[in-house]
Structure formats: structure tokens, C-alpha cells
């Protein structure tokens, strides 16, 4: 775990040398996706810890580290590495995910659909709660890491992302379907997010704490049962206010205290996020490769 963190630190330093910081406006959500893609050639590196607490299970910190690259204006690719640490237990890497998002309509419309396709290879100890599907619940996180890690899941995940911008507000809905490649039925989930910058017009002066740099909103997410049993009954449901602060340096800080709404949910899920965008990363890599030819 520590060596993985060291590697991530060295990688971030190397990226800092390779590319200039970018200054994009990041979405405030942790679970919900909107239709905004990564700018072509830019790389965003982010880490997103989540602290989960519930009665009867050990408190844990799940984390996903993500590398998001803008392949084209309409295509964004992401690679995730998941890890977790459970109090009174152990810390471990729990797997990886590879995801691609495709904008289905190139222009800006009232409702903008995006197709999300993901392959994930994680073990049963994964506690990132990046999405909640099927009958996922706190009981699944009660198992000791030593046993849970032996269970391997290779899953294919799809999302239909519908997102709109209305008078400064972003409204996004995600419909999620997950299928284990080796068997089992489709599990379903959803995420809904609404957010808005605290000021719609920018101020004339350079500033760090001005309202336009803050984006606040709310997320709702949870499971919807599975194929043949689509229901809310027995599922986990969460409500989570979100706040993002886009610093002029290109770094975005995010926080979201989430609250479980059903007996199966964790009582609290507190999420933090730090991301930094590197502009022109793709061009720099291409230049480097050309020079070495």
C-alpha cells in the first residue's frame, strides 16, 4: 500500500515536469457523471478517499486514484486504481477499472446523452463505493479483508448519462447496469446530481476565494435491485451535498458528506477529492516519442 502511494507520488511529480497545469472547471460530483468531457490531450489525476461508517462494521477508508485523459473532444478514457484501509484490519489494493465515455450527440442539446462503458477487475474487499448497484449494502463490507480479497469480480458496467445545463444549473441522471462476466444477473443502480456555481458571472480580478470558483450541489444515488427484481426494497440509498472549489492553479478540491437513507446503507459516507489537470499531456508525450525515434 505504502509503496503504491509512493509510486503514485512519483508519477504525479513526473507529470508535473511533463505538462503544464490546466485550468478547467471540474464537476463537483463524486458518483454522478455529467456530459462534460476532458479536454482533448489533457490529463487529470485525482484521488478520492471515502470514509465509511456504519453500526456493526469497522470504519474504513476506500480510495480510488484516477487518470482521466481526453482522447478526443467526444471521447474520454479513464483508468482507476482502487485501494482501502479498514480499522482494526488491514490495508490493500483492491483492483482496477478501465472506463470510456462517448458523447452520443456532438452539439449541445437540451439533454445530452453519454454512453459509459467500463471493465473492472476488483476483489471482494473493494470499498470505494464509486457506484451503488443491486442490493449492495453495509453487510458486504463486514467481512474481514483476508477473506473478502479472495473473491474476484470481473465486471462489465454500462451507464447511460443524461445531462443538461439550464441557467447555470447542471442536472444529470445516470442509469447504471452491472454484469459479472462469469455469471449472475444484471444489477441496476442510479445516480442523480444537481449543481450550480455560487456565482454565474466571473469577477474582473484574479481571485482564489471568489464565489465563481465554488460549485455546490446535491447527489442522490443507490441500488435498484437486479434483473427480475427491480426494486428499492433491500437496497442502499444515499443523499449527499457536494461542494467543489476550483483553484486558479488548476487544482480542484471537493468534499461531500453522504447520509444513508435505508437500513442497508452505511450511516455516513464522507468523501474527499483532490484533482489536478495537466494541459497538453498528449502533445508532450507525442513529442517525446518523436524525439526518441
Amino acid at each position: 500500500m505504502i509503496s503504491a502511494l509512493r509510486m503514485a507520488f512519483v508519477l504525479v511529480l513526473a507529470l508535473g515536469v511533463l505538462a503544464a497545469p490546466g485550468l478547467a472547471q471540474e464537476r463537483p460530483y463524486f458518483v454522478t457523471y455529467d456530459h462534460h468531457m476532458e479536454e482533448p490531450g489533457n490529463l487529470e489525476v485525482a484521488t478520492n478517499p471515502v470514509i465509511g461508517r456504519a453500526r456493526g462494521i469497522n470504519t474504513f477508508i476506500g480510495n480510488w486514484t484516477e487518470f482521466e485523459y481526453g482522447a478526443k473532444g467526444w471521447w474520454t478514457s479513464e483508468f482507476y486504481v482502487d485501494s482501502q484501509h479498514t480499522l482494526h484490519d488491514s490495508a490493500l489494493l483492491t483492483g482496477f477499472r478501465f472506463e470510456n465515455r462517448f458523447r452520443l450527440l456532438l452539439g449541445e442539446h437540451r439533454i445530452n446523452p453519454v454512453l459509459y462503458l467500463e471493465y473492472e477487475h476488483v476483489n471482494g474487499a473493494d470499498k470505494t463505493l464509486k457506484e451503488v448497484v443491486g442490493f449492495d449494502g453495509k453487510e458486504g463490507h463486514a467481512e474481514p479483508n483476508g477473506e473478502a480479497r479472495l473473491e474476484h469480480e470481473r465486471e462489465f458496467e454500462t451507464k447511460l448519462i443524461l445531462s443538461s445545463q439550464v441557467k447555470g444549473w447542471n442536472v444529470s441522471e445516470n442509469i447504471i447496469g452491472v454484469k459479472n462476466i462469469h455469471g449472475g444477473v444484471w444489477e441496476f443502480g442510479y445516480a442523480f446530481g444537481v449543481s450550480r456555481p455560487l456565482a454565474l458571472a466571473a469577477s474582473a480580478n484574479a481571485c482564489t476565494l471568489c464565489r465563481e470558483n465554488f460549485n455546490a450541489g446535491l447527489e442522490l444515488y443507490g441500488g435498484l435491485g437486479e434483473w427480475g427484481d427491480v426494486t428499492f426494497k433491500g437496497t442502499s440509498q444515499y443523499i449527499a451535498p457536494v461542494l467543489a472549489w476550483n483553484l486558479p492553479s488548476g487544482t480542484t478540491l471537493r468534499v461531500s458528506p453522504g447520509f444513508g437513507l435505508t437500513d442497508q446503507s452505511h450511516s455516513t459516507l464522507i468523501r474527499f477529492g483532490v484533482s489536478h489537470e495537466f494541459s497538453g499531456f498528449g502533445q508532450q508525450v507525442r513529442k517525446l516519442l518523436r524525439r526518441n525515434r
Binding site: 503544464a20 490546466g22 485550468l23 478547467a24 472547471q25 464537476r27 455529467d34 462534460h36 468531457m37 479536454e39 482533448p40 490531450g41 481526453g70 478526443k72 473532444g73 467526444w74 458523447r103 456532438l106 452539439g107 449541445e108 437540451r110 439533454i111 443524461l162 443538461s164 445545463q165 439550464v166 441557467k167 447555470g168 444549473w169 447542471n170 442536472v171 441522471e173 442523480f192 456555481p197 454565474l200 458571472a201 466571473a202 469577477s203 474582473a204 480580478n205 484574479a206 465563481e212 435498484l224 427491480v230 426494486t231 428499492f232 486558479p248 494541459s279 497538453g280 502533445q283
Partner: protein
């Protein structure tokens, strides 16, 4: 008859979608910040933040994207606003619809003061 909760949720989602889809059609065609000095300064700041990495600090182009000086002054403000908002995803110009409309108009105000 007891309604299934999924039906209720789907109905709410459809209603919300219909309401905001309708309101999304409204868009001013006049630049509300035309010749506004403060908006120009804000637009310059937004340009430095979001656009200069590709188009250059002086908007005269880089190897990633072309100069803007040749056409922004003569372009209709609403056309410029629409272009920035939609981008040209095929050619690599990203959509900036994530910026609220007032910020897009501030950018237009700044761009239209650039000398060719």
C-alpha cells in the same frame, strides 16, 4: 392499488426532464455585456484560464489551436457564444457549456475587443 416505487421515481424523472428540457430552450441573442469594461476584464481572466493554453495568451494561436484574432471581431456575438458553448468536438475544440451563460458572454465581450 399500491403503486410500485420505481413507477413513481420514473414519473418524477420524466417530469423533471420535461420541465428543464423546456426551460433549456431560452437563450438571449444579444450580448448583455456589450461594451462593458468590467465584463471585458472578467472575459480576459476567463480567456487566460480556459482558452490561452490552446489559443495562446494573446489569442494568436499555438500548435494546438489557431489564432482567433482574424474572425472574432467581425463575428456576430450570438454566433461566437454558440460556437464556444458547443465547441467543435470533431476538430478538437471542446464544448464550454460547463461555463454559465454570463461567463460565456464575458468571454465574447473580451474576444470582440481583440485587434485583428
Amino acid at each position: 392499488m399500491k403503486r410500485h416505487p420505481i413507477h413513481i421515481i420514473l414519473t418524477i424523472v420524466l417530469l423533471v426532464t420535461a420541465v428543464y428540457a423546456k426551460t433549456g430552450a431560452e437563450r438571449p441573442v444579444e450580448n448583455p455585456f456589450q461594451n462593458d469594461g468590467t465584463a471585458r476584464a472578467a472575459g480576459q481572466k476567463l480567456f487566460a484560464r480556459h482558452c490561452a493554453e490552446c489559443h495562446g495568451q494573446a489569442a494568436d494561436g499555438t500548435e494546438r489551436a489557431p489564432s482567433l484574432r482574424a474572425f472574432v471581431r467581425s463575428a456576430a456575438p450570438s454566433a461566437l457564444h454558440t460556437f464556444i458553448k458547443n465547441g467543435n468536438l470533431r476538430s478538437g475544440m471542446p464544448s464550454w457549456s460547463r461555463l454559465p451563460d454570463p461567463q460565456l458572454w464575458q468571454l465574447v465581450t473580451y474576444l470582440q475587443t481583440l485587434e485583428p
